[in-house]
Structures are given as structure tokens and as C-alpha cells.
């Protein structure tokens, strides 16, 4: 089966001091219809820029320098702005971390929702109103008819995120890119939002790229996972396989540094050092300066070992299951 989204060797660069810094460095990933891909990484790993690149939202001077973004067969990396605009919001939608940034503070929720509908479809005001109201109801907002007339500041953080999700779902997109949509929310509200998301995407067969730093969320939500470090996907595969038998030392370190994975009160397993800035990323394997297994081989750039769907980028991968 051809994947809905097939990203091949994507490179997104930001010029700085006369050279191009690779925020996204030869990223390849695939998402099938109805599938949830967890894109995991720490700050600065390039996970958000990957999402922006797929959406066509990389602001100049940043640009896509190489690679293909095949969405339903056509290459978005080469598409003209008008084609990208017609896809954005209609077939590919995005939900951001801070809904207050997505929503216009001076427009009523209803206005913002019908505006989105009119941008892509020809329909009457009554129809648009009804669609907006139904979408609000779908994401669990009580009395949607009245809430259409409310302004964003009249909603709580969790409710605002529901509105943002409702807007993303308005056109029944094929793919939703969710960039840390629950990070700013309390655990109880986070569970509510994920639960709504699960229901809606399953009902509609939507594919999802869930970008997050939180392995625990991804472990219960995603079908497959891709772990990013220094702009590259260092490991990807089915969620169970990667979490139970992580090949790349970084994936392993990341899993083991989560407090609930450690025995209460003991020292946490920690990865030494910090992620270097993009300008100071080591040649070869970006992780080698923090890696216990690194040797002279790692000064070479590690290729992809494995298949299109399941691969890692490490010369000295772990073979054993995680204890």
C-alpha cells in the first residue's frame, strides 16, 4: 500500500553567518491512512521544523533545500504556493501547542470557524454555521450553539485547545500534524484532549503525526514512533518494537531518563552533557559526543540501517531488549 505521506531525505535549512544550518537533516518518514506516528525529540531536535516543512510553513530565509514530500502521490516540496494553500487546512491540518496563538483574540469563535470553511468550500452561511456548531459539539464543548458567539479569552486553556482541534477537523483532513497539543495542559485535561482526538481520528480514519517530547503519551497513542536528535531521525519503527528493544543509544537513554521508568528514589539514568546547538553539531553521528558506545567509526555519518519503515542510524546499535 502506498503511504499517504512519504517524506524522503527532507533537508530544511536556515542560513546563518554565511552557511546553511540543517534544522532538518535527511529526514525520511512515512504515514499511512488511519495511522498515528509519534515524532519524539527534545528541544531543538528539529521535530517542529519537520512538521512546518510538511505544512509548507517554513518562513524565509528558512527553506526546503532537498528531498521530497510525497502527499497522496504529489510532491509538496516542489508544489507552487497556491497548490500548497489549497491543501493546507483542507487536506492537511495542524494543531499547535498554544491555542491562543492559533485563535484570533478579537474574533468570535464562530466567525473564525466559518471563515475556515468559506476559504475552501462554497456553502451558505447557514450551512457553515451548522458545520461549525457540529464540530464544536464533536470535540465535547457543552452548548456549542451559544459558544460560537464567545471570544477565545472566554474559554479555559483546555477548551481553547478543543476549539483548535475542532477547526482542524472541520474539513475532515487526511492528515493532522499535532505539535505538542497537550504540553501546556494539566494531566487530567491532557487525558480529555487525547481521548477526544483518539475518538475523532478513529471515526474518520485520519492519519496523525503527533509531535511531542513526552514518550509516555506516544507509548499509548501511536502505532509507530520516530525519534529525532540533531535534525535527524535516529530511530523509527513500530512503537512496541522501539520501546522494548531500542537500538539507538539515544532512544535508550531517553527512555531510561523518564522518572517513572526508574525505581523510586534511586538515581535516574542520565544522558551526560547537553544537546549541542545546530551550529556546533558534531560531524558524523550528532550524538557521538554524549554516547558511551562512540568510537572513531562514528566520525562518519551513519546511514539508515534497516527498511523504509523501520531503521536506525547507529554504527553500534544495541541488540538486547531493554531491561
Amino acid at each position: 500500500m502506498t503511504p499517504l505521506l512519504d517524506v524522503r531525505d527532507l533537508v530544511t535549512v536556515f542560513p546563518s553567518d554565511g552557511r546553511d544550518l540543517r534544522a532538518v537533516d535527511e529526514v525520511s518518514l512515512q504515514v499511512h491512512r488511519g495511522e498515528v506516528l509519534g515524532l519524539v525529540g527534545e528541544s531543538g531536535s528539529g521535530k517542529s521544523v519537520t512538521g512546518f516543512s510538511i505544512m509548507g510553513l517554513v518562513d524565509p530565509p528558512g527553506r526546503i533545500a532537498a528531498g521530497q514530500i510525497l502527499f497522496d502521490g504529489s510532491d509538496l516540496a516542489k508544489a507552487d504556493p497556491e497548490t500548497r494553500r489549497s491543501l493546507r487546512g483542507r487536506r492537511i491540518a495542524m494543531v499547535f501547542q498554544d491555542p491562543m496563538m492559533t485563535l484570533n483574540p478579537v474574533l468570535r469563535i464562530g466567525t473564525q470557524m466559518t471563515e475556515t470553511l468559506h476559504a475552501h468550500e462554497t456553502l451558505s452561511r447557514q450551512e457553515a454555521h451548522a458545520r461549525a456548531r457540529d464540530a464544536l459539539g464533536q470535540v465535547g464543548i457543552p452548548s456549542p450553539e451559544e459558544r460560537l458567539a464567545a471570544y477565545p479569552h472566554q474559554f479555559s486553556g483546555g477548551m481553547r485547545q478543543r476549539v483548535a482541534i475542532a477547526i482542524a477537523l472541520l474539513h475532515r483532513p487526511d492528515l493532522i500534524i499535532a505539535d505538542e497539543p497537550t504540553t501546556a495542559l494539566d494531566v487530567t485535561i491532557q487525558a480529555q484532549i487525547i481521548s477526544e482526538f483518539q475518538k475523532l481520528t478513529e471515526d474518520q480514519g485520519t492519519a496523525v503525526i503527533w509531535i511531542t517530547h513526552d514518550l509516555a503519551i506516544v507509548s499509548g497513542l501511536a502505532d509507530r514512533i520516530a525519534v529525532m536528535y540533531g535534525g535527524r531521525i535516529v530511530e523509527t519503527g513500530p512503537i512496541t518494537e522501539v520501546l522494548e528493544r531500542p537500538r539507538h543509544p539515544y532512544t535508550r537513554g531517553l527512555i531510561r531518563s523518564v522518572p517513572s521508568e526508574n525505581t523510586r528514589g534511586t538515581r535516574l539514568a542520565q544522558i551526560p552533557g547537553v544537546t549541542p546547538g545546530l551550529a556546533r553539531m558534531p560531524q558524523g553521528c550528532a550524538f557521538r559526543t554524549r554516547c558511551a558506545r562512540a568510537d572513531s567509526t562514528c566520525a562518519e555519518r551513519p546511514g539508515r540501517f534497516g527498511t523504509d519503515q523501520t531503521y536506525h542510524r547507529c554504527f553500534h546499535p544495541h541488540e538486547e531488549a531493554l531491561a
Binding site: E42, D186, T188, Q190, A216, G220, S257, P259, R267, Q270
Partner: protein
Amino acid sequence: MSMSLTETPATAPLLDLRQVSRTFGSRPDLAARIAIALGAAKPPPVVHALDEVNLTVRKGEVLGLVGESGCGKSTLGRIAAGILPPSSGQVLWKGEDRQRLSGRQLRDADLAAQMIFQNPMAALNPRMSIETLVAEAPQIHGMIQGDRSAYVDDYLRKAGFDPAMKRRLPHQFSGGQRARVNIARALAVQPDFLVCDESVAALDVSIQAQILNLFMDLREQLDLTYLFVSHDLGVVEHISDRVAIMYLGRVVEEAPVAEVFARPNHPYTQQLLAEVPRIRPGKRRFAAMKGELPSPLDPPKGCHFHPRCPMAHERCRVEVPKRREIAPGHSSACHLNDQQAA
């Protein structure tokens, strides 16, 4: 919860909060008060951040304080650190009422409790070098006897920060390193008690693990006591000896960490613990607790949790449940415990 009145400073807990309440709101001026009395104006809204909280922190322990945004956990942390006075109730520091302390005693109590905040950049003056930031407080309080530079180096090293970089400015460092500077700065006045208010919340997982390890090492080296305020149950579970769960201005349950995770008693705790994200491969349904935290401007009557509680009955809507011991060291504020006992 035991509250004997015959405690001496030697056996008293390090910190003992008794019936501590805190409200926030504007005080109406004379004209406004007359208007309110005549019914021409509404009284200004008052936020009930803390509502008769009892809590003790024993020397050498790590007490984790957990709750959702807006439940009052930061307010409680600030009162515990002595940087915010309570509206009513008593704060006993080593058995002495903080409000009766003055002069040297008050200064010692202030220095002994230090706070580490969530946003390390906001807590550091961007125009001061790391060295000045760390040296400022101990210098003012005459704690540096010999070489200032050596004193600063010592505390930077304790916090895992390379002293060679101490002449640089805060913006030149990453979030994790700034967190270390804040820790060094708190340690530099030689405190007994650290209040960590979401101190690791803004950090990446791998950096968070480093800082949590540092907290645990420092506890052993310097004999520190912690109040660890966090919304992250995984972090609190890992680092704490005891845990207090807050809901809308009240502590609803308190117990040793193993006990609370094995046998949560309060319906809120039970639902909250069910949401702890854990790495468990395989898809699962995210079940959701209904509703949101009500506004502290107008908290529900009776038990604050009753509008979201699946087990709520008539009594919960009218009567505030008292927190009482249900097992050794484990207390919970829920009316259901009375029914089971009766």
C-alpha cells in the same frame, strides 16, 4: 495528622502549617465600602487560594505537593518559603510562630528557607554575571568570611556548574545550566529547606533527569529538606518520601509515597493517579476525568471535588470533609471513609 501542643523546638517538625488560609483580592476603599454596604456595588472578587491547610514538613524529608494548575500549590510553596504571609492561620518554623519572629531570628528563618522557581531565566538578573548572582545574597548577609571567588566556586561546583564560566551572563547558558545557577544561588546562603516550585518542569527529559539527580545528591551531602511542588506525578513519585495532594485550595490526601500510589483513598487522587503517563507500549484508551477545576473565585460548597466526583452524595454538597487518618501516616478528606467506618 498529629498535632501535639507540647512540642519543643527539638522535636517539632521543621515546618508546621496550621489552618493556613490565603486569599487574594483588592481591598475596597471607603467609598466602595459604603457603596457595598448600601447594596449599590458588588464586593470585589476574592480568590480563595488556600483554605485552612494543615501540613507538616519533617526535617530531612522530601514532601511532594501535587495538584492541577490553580489548585494553590504555588501559593502554599511561597508561604512555606516565608516569602508570602498567610491571611490567617499559623506558620511554625522549627516550632516557633513565624509571625512572632523578629530581628536576627526572622532573618535566620528567612535565609534557612530558599525557593527555586520554574523559569530559571526570569529568576536571574540578565545584566549580572553568574558570579555576582551567586555571591550577592551571602555577601549582603556577611556569610563570606574569606575569598569571595572561592566561596562562589564552591557552590557552583556543588550545583554541577563549571566555575570557569562564572563571568558570563545568564543568556549565554542553556536552560539546564541556568537551573544549576539558580540552585547554586539558593545553596549559597546555606539553607536547611528548599522549596522547588516546578523547578524541572521547563526542562527536557534528559536534562530533567540530571537536575533531579543533583537534588538527590545535595540532599545527602547537605542534609537538606525539600518541599517539591509539581504537577508531574512521575517526578513527584520518584523524588518524594511523602506526598500531599491538593485540590482547589485544600490538601485532600497525604501519605507516604508508596502508600499513596498503592492505595490512593480520595476519589480525586484515584483519578489523578490513573492519568500518570507511563511508558507502556501498546495502544490504550485515554479515559478522561470529567470537567475542569472550578474557579477559586467561587468554589463549590461542601467538598470542593463533588461536582466532578462519581461517588458524590448529598453530604458532599453541604459539609466540608475533614482530613483524618485512615492508616498510619495516611490521611484523606472524604466522607466516604466515615460510611465505611460506621
